[in-house]
Amino acid sequence: MAKFRPRVGRRFLAMLLVIVGASVFTVRLIELQVVSAAALTEEAASKRAVPVVIPSLRGDIVDRNGEILATTDERYDAQLSPKNARLNGGKFYRIADEEGFATVSVTAEEAFAEIGEVTGQTADEIGAIVDGALAADPKSDFAYLKRSIDLTTLNQLKALQIPWLTFESHHARVYPNGAVGGNIIGFSGFEDVPQAGVEVSYDACLTGVNGEESYERGADGVALPGSVVVRQEAINGGTVQLTIDRDLQWETQQIINDQVQKVAAEWGMLTVIDVQTGEIVAVAEDGSVDPNDVDASDPTKREARSFVSPYEPGSTFKMITAAALVDQGVAVPDSLLQVPDSWEPEPNVRFRDSSTHGVMPMTLTGALVYSSNVGISMFGSRLTEQTRYEYLRAFGIGESTQAGLPLEDSGLLYSPENWDRQTSYNTMFGQGVSATIVQTASAYQAIANDGVRVPPSVVATCTEADGTVTDMVHGDPVAAVSPETAATTLHMLEAVVQESWITPLVSIPGYRIGGKTGTAEQTDGQGGYRSDFVHSFVGVFPVEDPQFVIAASIAFPKAGEGSVAALTSFHDAAEATIRTFQIPPSTGSYVPLDTGS
């Protein structure tokens, strides 16, 4: 037995060594492949992978028919790598033609010249960009060549096949319809930050959520194909639908620009509201901003002045006083009074009519037809101040509209305890109180809609990227007066159009129109009133079944009749509205009311 012991011992030792070595390797293998696998893969990927933000697309703003008013466009930035441009003495190789393999050597200077031809820069300028970047940092890998180039330029630069020239895209806001609705849509400023209008107020709906993806790239910066991993999908912004009609909005802007120019007025506004729904189908201001080119517009005309610039409305508010009288039952259209041309009801309270006349018999209708301040005040003093104030509030005066813009003025209406004696009478004919043109039009919308005021709206819905539609909230309808009162008041408004001097200016054959003019004094900011006026007209048509309210205001004309301009604006806008919404002609005819004289 002594013969085999050493043989077995050696064998055993060898086996042991092998087993020990194998187990060491196995343990290390398990540790690498199983235990720290995730961490190591992550580390390796992080050295190769480049995270990229997938930008989300900002939502569109569209009109009531889906026409695009604001949308997002792609713009491209061309950037170069200064370090790589000067590598190898600035030489690189380019495939000579499409099919072959032959390459041609191109120097950096030649490349600069080729680029310059496309972008409009000189070769020296481009060389200066490269050298300047390298002077600041010899390892500089990035410098902008030209920002915000369009697709054609991009394709031309790409065709040059220069390896150190790369491109990045970013989004820019575009407004294909220019200044149409520009006051409502708003615009963006630096870095596409929204600054006004619906762009600001509905930013939450329009903004999407960015996504993220990563790709792996080699040492020379080339992306490895198939290595893109989308970590998070981008969610695009939603679409905001407005209530305005693009073509009618253009038409009303055209009309008001024309009229303001004709009479050299300071400003003009024109608003069209749908009676049944309170939707604003057109809201025009003169010189509205073109969101594509904000700097070109007058700085005072960049906001939605129809919503933020209240003014004293004047005689158009006589309608509210008349409606309040009829609703309270203290007067009817035929109630008669003897009206002088000036009145001093209380000490230090005096006012007069715009025309001189002797004491004349005047019905309530006549007070509207002749636009008599004295007449309406004599009737109006049958109501208490509190009652008149409540009617003004019921018609929406003194309360902010919630149409959908970032800022909407409430106008100025003091509560009756704060009315001095003069103001107490002035409010009966629309002085001593201020309102925006939209508020005035909305008061007439109440009368036109059987006494129910539907708060005006300019933004209809927000549609998210996944299809959810949210209706915007604008306030609850308010019953300002009874339907009978509304009908009676409409009758009186029709009498104003039929019986006064304005008939030839506003009449449209086949359509019955009712409305009221207004000539209002405005404060001069120093405690007194200006000597020029804001001329307005608010009309409702067709009277027997009102569909639309149109309000026009022309301010401080220097070279013509402002009231004629306001009436013509109304007339032209009414014709445009009839064409746009295909309103059939009126039925029935006007039953004359007695004006008293």
Binding site: Q253, N292, G560, P584
Partner: protein, 204 residues
């Protein structure tokens, strides 16, 4: 002998005793060992004698084959990845072109562009609403236009800058030509309000 318990070692004693009476005849002389030739093995046992070279070659061949297949698959997959990337890029480029074209359509369809082109063609807007009453074929409203003057577009649109319009002869003309002229005319036409005291003669 004691050799029976060691299987490896050749038991010469056993060999020697080729006669039947091996274990019962211890008197046989150990020196007389008969060697006889071994029988040839059965043919099927030859398989176990195949040269190990062939086995090695087969194994190496299979391993090389596996490597080759793997390499081929990798190449095919990478090639597919490059193709997919190229197609993705093509799709992206086509989408960009489509977006630019649809935005061009949007701006050309804007009311300002239509009005500018209409004005350049000499079209006059007839805004009178008119309807036909079907019961008796009466036209309600006035069909004749009120003006023969072309009204220029006065609502700006910066996206239309540098885009020409088509005039009545079918030629492309600059867009702002008519507008500038109209603006100059309008400015010169509006009367200006007199400011200050009206001049009056001295009277005695």
């Amino acid at each position: 002998m004691s050799g029976n318990t060691v299987p490896i070692e050749l038991d010469l004693d056993l060999l020697r005793s080729a006669t039947p009476d091996v274990s019962s005849d211890p008197q046989l002389e150990p020196s007389r060992r008969h060697l006889r030739p071994a029988e040839t093995l059965a043919p099927r046992a030859r398989l176990y004698r195949l040269s190990p070279l062939w086995g090695a070659l087969t194994a190496v061949g299979i391993v090389l084959g596996i490597f080759a297949t793997q390499l081929g698959l990798s190449i095919a997959v990478s090639q597919g990845a490059y193709e997919a990337r190229a197609l993705e890029l093509e799709q992206r480029d086509l989408q960009r072109v489509e977006r630019v074209l649809s935005q061009n359509v949007n701006k050309l369809a804007s009311p300002q562009n239509l009005a500018d082109n209409a004005a350049a063609l000499g079209m006059v807007q007839n805004s009178n609403p008119a309807t036909i009453r079907l019961s008796d074929n009466v036209v309600l409203g006035d069909l004749t236009q009120r003006t023969t003057q072309v009204q220029a577009n006065v609502v700006p649109n910066a996206t239309l800058e540098n885009l020409p319009v088509v005039d009545a002869d079918g030629l492309l003309v600059s867009r702002n030509f008519g507008q500038a002229a109209a603006a100059v005319e309008a400015l010169s036409g509006a009367p200006v309000v007199w400011e200050g005291n009206l001049p009056s003669p001295d009277t005695r």
